[in-house]
């Protein structure tokens, strides 16, 4: 079931038009990851994307961030064609994004330092963020001296401190325990509400997607994934992510989207099932 999202005002923050992305396989064949993706995210919109593993979520993110160019179609940011790196975005990567040669505080303050903030101010602000993500006392540690979850939190602080217009998040919370995750999710929502950034949020956890977002996009199973569903989440804000899961409307939405998603996941794992 495709629920078309209403037309957004002119020049949406993110606009993917007929985007196709291909890679060359080792064998020389062309492997199509995404096909004909049309997606608009408005300013201040919180948009989640879900889909089976390997369907192309991270690839979509890298197109929006400008790390890679689409094979066909185009990516527009605020009405302008994106060429090279997207200067309005910040990103929490699925893999590590802390710089191993910088301590926690240097990592977190980097965005500010690059914009010319004085070291003092940047460090003060960074300390605030380090505390927010629960790493107080680890300012002087290097990333490899932290646990997996702690590194993820460094990445979060590093990304959020710059208060970007576009926030790209790739499975940012999947390495955290439930409690920490809820804390971080609530923190994220608070920040988002304050800054009205457009958020493009990748997760494999549908509950998380619904709890946080204005919209949930479902991708079909790859290869050549495309958009299967586009759901508007009209739950009241501000939300408490830990509690909203018990909301009735939440359960309905969850069921509705899950039906969609499950089919794709099934397609994707037909082979694994058969084995």
């Amino acid at each position: 079931m495709n629920q078309q999202s209403p037309r957004l005002p002119d020049s949406p923050m993110i606009d993917l038009q007929g985007v196709t992305k291909e890679f060359l396989k080792p064998s020389g064949e062309v492997h199509t990851v995404l096909r004909n993706i049309n997606l608009r995210v408005a300013k201040g919109e919180f948009c989640s994307i879900v889909g089976p593993t390997g369907c192309g979520k991270s690839t979509t993110l890298s197109l929006i961030a400008g790390f890679e160019a689409p094979s066909l179609g185009k990516v527009q940011i605020k009405g302008e064609k994106l060429e090279g790196i997207n200067s309005r975005a910040s990103c929490v990567f699925q893999t590590e994004n802390a710089f191993p040669w910088k301590t926690v505080i240097d990592n977190v303050s980097l965005g500010l330092r690059l914009n010319g903030t004085s070291k003092n101010d940047a460090f003060q602000e960074a300390r605030r963020w380090i505390e927010k993500v629960g790493l107080k006392g680890f300012e002087g540690h290097y990333p490899h001296q932290l646990s997996g979850g702690m590194r993820k939190r460094v990445a979060l602080a590093q990304c959020l401190i710059t208060q970007p217009e576009i926030l790209l998040m790739d499975e940012s919370f999947s390495a955290l325990d439930v409690h920490t995750r809820h804390l971080m999710e609530n923190e994220l929502l608070k920040i988002w509400e304050e800054t009205s950034a457009s958020v493009f949020f990748i997760t494999h956890d549908l509950e998380e997607a619904i709890a946080l977002s204005d919209r949930v996009i479902v991708l079909t199973a790859g290869p050549a994934a495309t958009i299967k569903g586009d759901y508007r989440i009209n739950l009241e804000r501000p939300r408490n992510v830990a509690e909203i899961r018990f909301d009735k409307q939440f359960a309905e939405l969850h069921e509705q989207i899950w039906n969609d998603l499950r089919d794709e996941v099934m397609v994707s794992y037909a082979s694994a099932n058969n084995a």
């Binding site: 790390f67 975005a89 710089f99 690059l114 680890f138």
Partner: protein, 282 residues
């Protein structure tokens, strides 16, 4: 509330630290004694064979006469002034050549590593120049740079540059794409990208090349002195070689080696300082 990252009492910390220190010093002592044993084995057998004429001392000298020669140079000086003058001259040439070679190598490596077009156009020339025997080029250096220090420095630079260049080039290419992207997103301009991401990441590569390139800078300076000079360790060695004084040649070499060891020690210190984040891991 600050997260307390240690629950140990001061006392416990002290004990533990002491234990670690003891373990570290045990390893040091073991290493040192092994080093000494190997040293004695090498130089002892050299001395022995030379003493017993199993190897011809005319060709191979012996450690004791080398030491005597050095002591004589130190105490009585050489015919061209005190030993330290030669040492200072060579060292100065080497250090200048090294610094220039490293700077040029890093800059060229960075430029060509970052820019495919530059790499395609100028890469082959660098390859070609690297294959030219520097000894043959010496006359050209003399024409360009004169007989003084600059020509020796130039010779050292031509040896240092290439080693640093190739490593810096590869180091730049090896930088994690993700980290580059992340820094770009965080707003890094070209200079900042170099400063915060590319150089720190390539530093292991560059520092590794310094280990061999200092030795080569020294070789360059000495070969330059060979080609025409009035001072320097190369001059001393050349003179000894001309006079068939093997002991003098070896004595000069020993002085060179000691210089190289000292420089290497300095590079290691740099390494510990600049890539501290790697060492903490161990």
């Amino acid at each position: 509330m600050q997260v307390q990252t240690t629950l140990n009492t001061q006392e416990e910390i002290e004990t533990r630290k002491k234990e670690m220190r003891i373990r570290a010093s045990k390893i040091k002592i073991r290493n040192l004694s092994l080093q000494i044993i190997v040293f004695i084995a090498i130089f002892g057998s050299w001395e022995f064979f030379s003493d017993k004429n199993i190897i011809d001392p005319f060709f191979f000298s012996s450690p004791s006469s080398i030491v005597k020669q050095i002591v004589e140079w130190v105490i009585e000086g050489t015919s061209q002034g005190p030993l330290y003058v030669h040492f200072v001259v060579s060292f100065e040439e080497t250090v200048i050549a090294f610094v220039i070679g490293v700077i040029l190598g890093v800059i060229a490596g960075y430029a060509l590593g970052m820019n495919d077009l530059l790499a395609v156009i100028f890469g082959p020339y660098i390859q070609m120049l690297n294959a030219l025997p520097r000894v043959v080029l010496a006359p050209i250096f003399i024409i360009w740079f004169g007989l003084g220090m600059p020509s020796k420095v130039a010779l050292g630079v031509t040896l240092t540059f290439f080693i640093v260049f190739f490593n810096a080039f590869q180091g730049v290419r090896e930088v994690d794409k993700n980290l580059l992207n992340n820094a770009r997103l965080l707003g890094a301009n070209k200079r900042q990208l170099a400063q915060h991401v590319i150089i720190p990441s390539a530093l292991t590569w560059i520092l590794s090349s310094l280990h061999s390139s200092f030795g080569f800078a020294l070789v360059g300076a000495v070969v330059g002195e060979f080609i025409g000079s009035t001072k320097g360790l190369g001059f001393l060695i050349a003179q000894a070689q001309g006079a068939f004084n093997t002991t003098g040649v070896f004595a000069g070499m020993v002085l060179l080696s000691v210089t190289a060891l000292a420089a290497n020690w300095a590079v290691s210190k740099l390494e510990t300082r600049f890539i501290a984040w790697r060492h903490v891991r161990q």
